[in-house]
Point group: C2
Chain length 221, copies 2
């Protein structure tokens, strides 16, 4: 749990006292976009998808949350409305803190604030990179990047290669890489026929990792 790294045992106890625990089944909406932001969450077990939708209903996936990461935190410090919605991918467990407690903790233990700055900084850099990619690269490269990021975050090593261990539809990949589910399907089937990847039952396994990296970097296939 990066946010609380470097805290004394006493401080850690303090933070746990005011935490609330949530047990959630798959496909549960934790908060909606536009809701008043009441609490900050930390994921312990499972997976969460954060998506943002525009006025027409076009959606994009902002990120996938893996165990150990925070989500819904930013809203507390900005306009107090969640700018996106959070949905569990699988059965999950999360902790949460109220806004007041969070602020209190942060002023009592500045280290938390500094940690949070680091976390947000890294997230900012990641989105900026994704922005550059979508602005300048071909769809194929973007899809490669998307899969690599997921593998990095939630990759399980199986016999066949690295499996991204939560359910992932073509639509979601499309919403991560700024394209349509049709294009994603075409490209993934091509990769599968070439043997770079295997997909089955909404699970994607990267077999030829270096090949995918090559596509992401060079755009060569």
């Amino acid at each position: 749990m990066e946010l609380f790294q470097g805290l004394s045992p006493v401080a850690l106890a303090d933070t746990m006292i005011c935490a609330r625990t949530h047990e959630l089944r798959a496909e549960t909406r934790i908060f909606y976009q536009g809701d008043g932001a009441a609490r900050a969450y930390a994921l312990i077990v499972g997976g969460v998808r954060i998506s943002q939708s525009g006025s027409d209903g076009e959606q994009v996936v902002i990120r996938f949350v893996a165990p150990g990461e925070m989500f819904g935190t930013v809203a507390l410090f900005t306009d107090r409305r969640y700018p996106a919605e959070a949905v569990t991918l699988t059965q999950s467990v999360a902790l949460s803190w109220s806004e007041a407690d969070m602020l209190e903790l942060m002023t009592r233990y500045p280290r938390i604030a500094v940690n949070l700055v680091g976390i947000l900084g890294r997230r900012l850099q990641e989105v900026q990179e994704r922005f550059r990619e979508i602005a300048t690269q071909s769809v194929e490269r973007r899809i490669a990047h998307a899969l690599l990021r997921l593998a990095e975050k939630a990759g399980e090593n199986t016999g066949q290669g690295t499996e991204i261990d939560f359910p992932l539809t073509r639509k979601h990949v499309a919403e991560m890489s700024g394209t349509t589910l049709y294009t994603v399907s075409r490209i993934l089937t091509r990769w599968e026929k070439s043997g770079w990847i295997v997909t089955s039952n909404q699970r994607v396994t990267l077999c030829d990792f270096t090949r995918i990296i090559r596509i992401a970097e060079d755009g060569v296939d």
Copy 2:
């Protein structure tokens, strides 16, 4: 200066003591992408463009910095390399702090850290929105959004309308909205012929503000 808001006069004096002043002419590179991140900056006068480039040289504009804003700050708290480059648009004045001083200040006055979290949070939200736009909207809408954001940040009210008061090439608009300078040129000339905007000498003035907003929202022209 949002970062230091809510500080006592004493604290403010402390921060100013360790600040260094920079006077910069137009088109000066303040730092390069990949440089070891030594200092955090605050812009006092002028304008700065932050751009990121990929391995091939494709560039995007991450943001324009207006007076009162910080830049180069995130890098101190992540991997200590600037993830983008900063170039002055016009003659400018900036303050800067060393990494050590900044950390020291933040732990001494937690309020600074909390402020920074708010700033980063808002920037994160903005990039995420831009990401959604570029992923789902037509080029024309994206250009409209780009101009509106600039007008919001650096709009001067003249007789003809709202002028964006720093030099802005077609190329830069393209790099903000993820398109080519040719497409930007075509669209801006069309808007100019219709009377929604006026451009001259790298200055853009939005005459029919509501029209541009309509394009940004509906995609209607």
